[in-house]
């Protein structure tokens, strides 16, 4: 009888432990999955934004080409945010356009964040090279 009750207590303890472990394991997996998904989403948002900004001209697939329309967009932050919204980008994004010959900052939209992914491209526009830096 004693052995039976000890066995029952042992089985119950082990079952409880396994249950707790399973719950914590599922929770941890879900959290790490969400973290990875968040990073991945940030990465693709940055890629979509930099590619759609610099490859907007016709026949410029994988080629950095800046249009006058883009410069007009960038001169007004609200239209830029509208553009981001149309692309379905929800996160805060900061964009800097710098003339690399003299280091002059042309446009700056958004604030720099602590943990960010950065995408940079150097594009030709109107006789000089400009650095497009997007931080997501």
């Amino acid at each position: 009888m004693l052995i039976k009750s000890v066995e029952l207590i042992l089985v119950l303890t082990i079952c409880t432990l396994i249950f707790i472990l399973s719950i914590s394991f599922v929770g941890n997996s879900y959290n790490s999955f969400r973290e990875e998904l968040y990073l991945l989403r940030k990465f693709y948002e940055g890629r979509v934004l930099i590619k759609s900004l610099t490859e907007s001209q016709t026949f410029s697939n994988k080629t950095c080409n800046i249009t006058d329309n883009l410069i007009y967009y960038l001169s007004d932050p609200s239209s830029f945010y509208e553009y981001m919204k149309s692309l379905g980008i929800r996160d805060n994004v900061s964009l800097e356009v710098i003339d690399i010959s003299d280091g002059k900052l042309l446009f700056k939209i958004g604030e720099k964040r602590d943990n960010f992914l950065e995408f940079r491209r150097v594009c030709y526009y109107n006789g000089s090279l400009y650095l497009f830096s997007i931080k997501v």
Binding site: L10, I18, F25
Partner: protein
């Protein structure tokens, strides 16, 4: 006797299950490599719009682009080192060419 055997069996199965549960690490595989190369290549095309008249200009433009985009780089123009910011052995590279006065000039950029 039978009860002892069952107990040992249950404990063994439980230990095995816990071991499997703890040793399993979920991995989410995704491949995001190659975006630096893509950005570099799309930027290097911009040099064509500037029509560099000699190799020195080409070196300047290539180095400007590499230094602004890449963290670690080595730029070779026609096989000779134009600029670098690391002495490490970099394996990945992008090779392209420009035609200056009818002569193809090869630019190879090593990146990390």
């Amino acid at each position: 006797m039978r009860s002892n055997f069952l107990l040992i069996l249950e404990v063994t199965i439980a230990i095995l299950f816990i071991y499997l549960l703890l040793s399993y690490k979920p991995n989410f595989y995704y491949d995001i490599r190659g975006f630096r190369e893509e950005d570099l290549l799309s930027s290097l095309i911009s040099i064509n719009y500037l029509y560099p008249s000699n190799v020195t200009y080409l070196e300047d433009y290539s180095c400007q682009i590499a230094s602004n985009i890449l963290d670690y780089y080595k730029v070779f123009v026609n096989g000779s080192l134009a600029c670098n910011n690391t002495d490490e052995d970099l394996r990945n590279s992008i090779r392209t060419f420009y035609i200056i006065n009818g002569t193809p000039i090869f630019v190879e950029i090593f990146l990390k």
